[in-house]
C-alpha cells in the first residue's frame, strides 16, 4: 500500500463518527470591512498604517510622479535601479540613475549590487497598511523587490486601495505568485525588541499617487 492510501485510509477510519453526507456550511458572521468611510478616508488610513510600520509614505498627483521618484532616488544616493519590464517609463523620466532590467538570466548576486527597485502594486490594504505584489508586468519577478535594499512602490489612489483583507483577497488571483508587504522587514527575535530591516529591503518607500 502506498503512503497516500495509508494516510487517506487512516483519515477515513478516524472520521468514522462523522455522519455520511454531513456538510455544514461555515457561518461567516464577521465584517467585510471595519468602519465606514469614503475613498479619501481609506487612503488616509492606509498612509497612517504604512507609516506606523515604518514605511516612508509620500503623496503626490500622478503628474508629479517623475519628479517625486527622481527626488527619492537622489536622496537615497542610488546609482542603479531595477525596473520591471511593464513599468510606466514616464515614472523615471526625470531620473538619471542607471536602469537595470528585470531579466530571467540575472543572478541573485547581480541583483545584490543594484541599489534600488521601483514597482507598482496589485492592491493596497488600508486597515493593515499592506501592499500586495502579484508579479504583473509593472511589478516584475518576486526577487527584484527582495534583494535590493531600497524599494519604492507606487500605489495609484484611490483605485488600488481597499479597506480590508477580505476585500483584498477578492481582487487577487491565487494563480499568481503573491507577496504581501507590511512595512520593511523586521525581527523581534532578540528580547522581543523590534528591529527593522533584516533580509528584505531595509527601506520601503510608498508613493500614493492620485
Amino acid at each position: 500500500m502506498s503512503s497516500r492510501e495509508r494516510i487517506l485510509g487512516r483519515v477515513r477510519r478516524a472520521l468514522a463518527d462523522v455522519p455520511p453526507g454531513e456538510d455544514s456550511p461555515v457561518e461567516r458572521g464577521y465584517l467585510r470591512r471595519h468602519g465606514e468611510g469614503g475613498a479619501s478616508k481609506t487612503v488616509a488610513l492606509l498612509a497612517e498604517n504604512l507609516a506606523e510600520y515604518r514605511a516612508l509614505v509620500h503623496r503626490c498627483a500622478v503628474g508629479e510622479l517623475p519628479g517625486v521618484v527622481a527626488g527619492l532616488l537622489a536622496a537615497r544616493g542610488a546609482r542603479s535601479v531595477l525596473v520591471p519590464a511593464g513599468l510606466d517609463e514616464g515614472w523615471l523620466a526625470r531620473s538619471d540613475v542607471r536602469r537595470v532590467a528585470d531579466r530571467a538570466e540575472s543572478t541573485p548576486a547581480e541583483l545584490d549590487r543594484v541599489d534600488s527597485v521601483i514597482t507598482g502594486c496589485a492592491v493596497a490594504v488600508a486597515e493593515t497598511g499592506t501592499i500586495v505584489l502579484d508579479g504583473s508586468p509593472d511589478q516584475g519577478r518576486r526577487r527584484i523587490t527582495l534583494v535590493p535594499d531600497h524599494h519604492i512602490c507606487v500605489v495609484r489612489v484611490p483605485e488600488q486601495v481597499v479597506s480590508s483583507v477580505p476585500e483584498a483577497l477578492e481582487r487577487l488571483d491565487p494563480r499568481r505568485p503573491l507577496t504581501w508587504i507590511s512595512g520593511p522587514s523586521a525581527t523581534s527575535d532578540i528580547e522581543l525588541d523590534r528591529v527593522e530591516g533584516v533580509h528584505g529591503p531595509r527601506t520601503l518607500e510608498v508613493v500614493l499617487a492620485g
Binding site: I7, R13, V147, W180, S182, D189, H199
Partner: protein, 492 residues
C-alpha cells in the same frame, strides 16, 4: 514522532530545573508579558474578533471532518499547477523523501525557513546524516542552531536567550558556519540583526535548494502560504531553483476565501501586529519567477491518530500563533524546554502526547503541565478548549483506554505510578456527574472551579491541591511544585 528530546526528563523534573534558572525566568517573564499586552491591544482593535475566531474554528473543524476530500483536492490543484505531491506517513519517511529529493539535485546544502513540521521530524539531523547541511535562516533559529540549543517558543524560539548571550554565540560560532561576526560586535539588537543579515546573505545568494513549511494550504487553488517577518522566508521561497515544503496534513483549508479569516487572526495573535511584514503565497511553479521545481511533502506523523480522538482532534485546529504560550503561568515559569518537544506550552501539552502517544514519561506527564486556569482557551484564535483536552488526556493516562496509534486501535494500560490520579479521577467524575451536563457547552475549567469539591478524599487530596488551584499564578511555581510534586505525592 522523532522529535522527542533524547533523555528528556518528565515535565516535573525539567520544570524544576528551569524555574531555578534566574536568567531564563527573567527572559521569559519579560518576553511573555511584553507580547501579552501588545496582543490584547491588537485584538481589541478589531470589533468582530469573536466572529473571526468562531469562523476560524468552524473552517478548521469543517476541514478536519472532511480531511480526506480536501487532501485529495489539494493534491489535484498542486499537481495541476506544476508541483509534485508526496505523502509521508511518519517522520522517517518524510526525512527520506526530502533527503532523496535534495540528493537528486546534486546539492549538499539547503536553506531553511523556520518550520515546526521539519523540527518535529528532526529533518536537519536526518539530512546531516546523509551529508547534507541545512542552514536555518530565521534569526531566532540561527541563534538556536549556532548555540547548539533547542527552541523554547513557537514564535520566538530563542526567547530564553538575552542579547548578551546572543552576541557571545555569534562571536564564537558564526565563523565556523560561514561569514564570521563583525569585529567588535555589540549586543544592541540592531547590530545583532545586521550580523545575521551579513552572515546569511551569502548563503541565500548561492542557495539552490530551499526547504520550508507552510502556514496554510488552499485545497481549491493549490496555494501555499508562508507568514513571516524577516524576509528569510521570501529568500528561501524565491531564490533557489528547487523548493521542498514539508507540511502537516492539518494545514489545509478548503477555499481561497478562507484565508481572509486567518490572515486577520494569525498576525494579531502571534506577533500582535495588524499584519506581519511579509506573507508569501505561491501556487505550484510560475514560469520565469521563483523555483522551477516544487515538491510538497504531506506529513501525517501522528496527525491521523489525533484525528481519531473525538475530544482531542480539536488540537489539529492550531495555527501555531503561540498566544497560548504567552499567557500560560506554567510556561512562563517552566520555559519551553521542560515540555520536551518542539511544541511547548499549552498547545504542546495537548499536541505532543497525541502525536507521540503517552508511552514515554515526559509525554505521560505533559497533560499535567497546567493549572487549568483557562487563559490559553481565552486567547486561542481558533478556540481550542485546551483545558478540556488536558482533562481528557489526563484521564487516558490515568485510566488507560482506547486510542489509535499508527493507524491501529490499541488499548492503553493505565500509566504506572498514577494510582493517585486514578483515584482522583474517579472522585472527580463522581463530582462532575452530579450537576448533570458535563458537556453543556460551558468551559470545563471554570466548571471545575465552581463544582469541584475543594478537596478530594484520600490520595486524591494532593491531586485537587495541584489541579484545582486557581491561584497558581500568584504562587511561585517552584513552591507550588514542591508542595504538590506536580500532584504526584500519593505515589511517593
Amino acid at each position: 514522532m522523532s522529535g522527542t528530546f533524547v533523555g528528556m526528563p518528565a515535565f516535573p523534573e525539567a520544570a524544576r530545573a528551569a524555574v531555578s534558572d534566574e536568567t531564563l525566568r527573567g527572559n521569559l517573564r519579560h518576553a511573555t508579558h511584553t507580547i501579552r499586552a501588545k496582543r490584547a491591544k491588537a485584538v481589541a482593535e478589531v470589533a468582530d474578533w469573536a466572529q473571526l475566531r468562531e469562523a476560524g474554528k468552524r473552517i478548521k473543524d469543517h476541514t478536519l471532518r472532511h480531511l480526506d476530500r480536501y487532501l485529495v483536492r489539494l493534491e489535484e490543484s498542486v499537481t495541476a499547477a506544476g508541483g509534485t505531491v508526496h505523502w509521508a506517513a511518519d517522520a522517517d519517511e518524510a526525512n527520506r523523501i526530502v533527503a532523496d529529493l535534495v540528493k537528486a539535485t546534486g546539492e549538499r546544502e539547503v536553506v531553511k525557513v523556520k518550520s515546526m513540521a521539519t523540527q518535529e521530524i528532526g529533518l536537519n539531523e536526518a539530512l546531516e546524516a546523509e551529508g547534507i547541511r541545512a542552514y536555518e535562516t530565521d534569526l531566532a533559529e540561527l541563534i538556536v542552531q549556532l548555540g547548539k540549543d533547542r527552541p523554547s517558543h513557537i514564535l520566538v524560539p530563542a526567547i530564553h536567550r538575552n542579547r548578551g548571550e546572543i552576541r557571545d554565540i555569534f562571536r564564537r560560532e558564526m565563523g565556523r558556519w560561514g561569514r564570521p561576526a563583525p569585529d567588535g560586535l555589540s549586543d544592541a539588537p540592531a547590530d545583532l540583526a545586521e550580523a545575521a543579515r551579513l552572515h546569511l546573505r551569502e548563503k541565500f545568494l548561492r542557495a539552490k535548494v530551499g526547504v520550508s513549511g507552510a502556514n496554510f494550504m488552499v485545497a481549491e487553488t493549490g496555494t501555499l502560504v508562508v507568514v513571516e517577518s524577516e524576509g528569510n522566508g521570501r529568500m528561501c521561497l524565491t531564490l533557489p531553483e528547487t523548493l521542498i515544503s514539508v507540511v502537516g496534513i492539518e494545514k489545509v483549508v478548503p477555499t481561497w476565501r478562507d484565508l481572509e479569516v486567518f490572515l486577520q487572526t494569525l498576525p494579531r495573535s502571534s506577533t500582535a501586529e495588524r499584519m506581519n511584514p511579509y506573507t508569501s503565497m505561491w501556487t505550484g511553479t510560475t514560469d520565469g519567477d521563483g523555483p522551477r521545481v516544487f515538491h510538497l511533502v504531506l506529513l501525517d506523523n501522528g496527525r491521523t491518530d489525533t484525528l481519531a480522538d473525538e475530544v482531542g482532534r480539536q488540537a489539529l485546529r492550531c495555527i501555531r500563533c503561540s498566544a497560548c504560550l504567552n499567557v500560560c503561568p506554567v510556561y512562563e515559569r517552566a520555559g519551553g524546554h521542560a515540555y520536551g518537544s518542539v511544541y511547548p506550552g499549552p498547545i504542546g501539552a495537548i499536541l505532543s502526547p497525541q502525536l507521540r502517544g503517552t508511552a514515554s514519561e515526559v509525554d505521560a506527564s505533559l497533560p499535567y503541565a497546567s493549572s487549568l486556569c483557562g487563559a490559553c482557551y481565552e486567547v486561542c484564535p481558533v478556540a481550542i478548549d485546551i483545558p478540556e483536552v488536558l482533562v481528557h488526556l489526563r484521564e487516558r493516562v490515568a485510566e488507560g483506554g482506547e486510542a489509535v496509534r499508527d493507524g491501529n486501535k490499541v488499548l492503553l494500560r493505565p500509566a504506572k505510578g498514577h494510582a493517585a490520579e486514578r483515584a482522583a479521577m474517579r472522585a472527580a467524575r463522581w463530582a462532575f456527574a452530579r450537576p448533570g451536563a458535563l458537556r453543556a457547552g460551558q468551559r470545563l475549567a471554570s466548571r471545575t472551579r465552581r463544582l469541584h469539591p475543594r478537596t478530594l478524599p484520600g490520595p486524591g487530596r494532593a491531586w485537587t491541591a495541584g489541579r484545582d488551584l486557581p491561584a497558581v499564578p500568584s504562587e511561585p511555581f517552584r513552591d507550588w511544585w514542591q508542595r504538590t510534586r506536580g500532584g504526584r505525592d500519593g505515589e511517593r
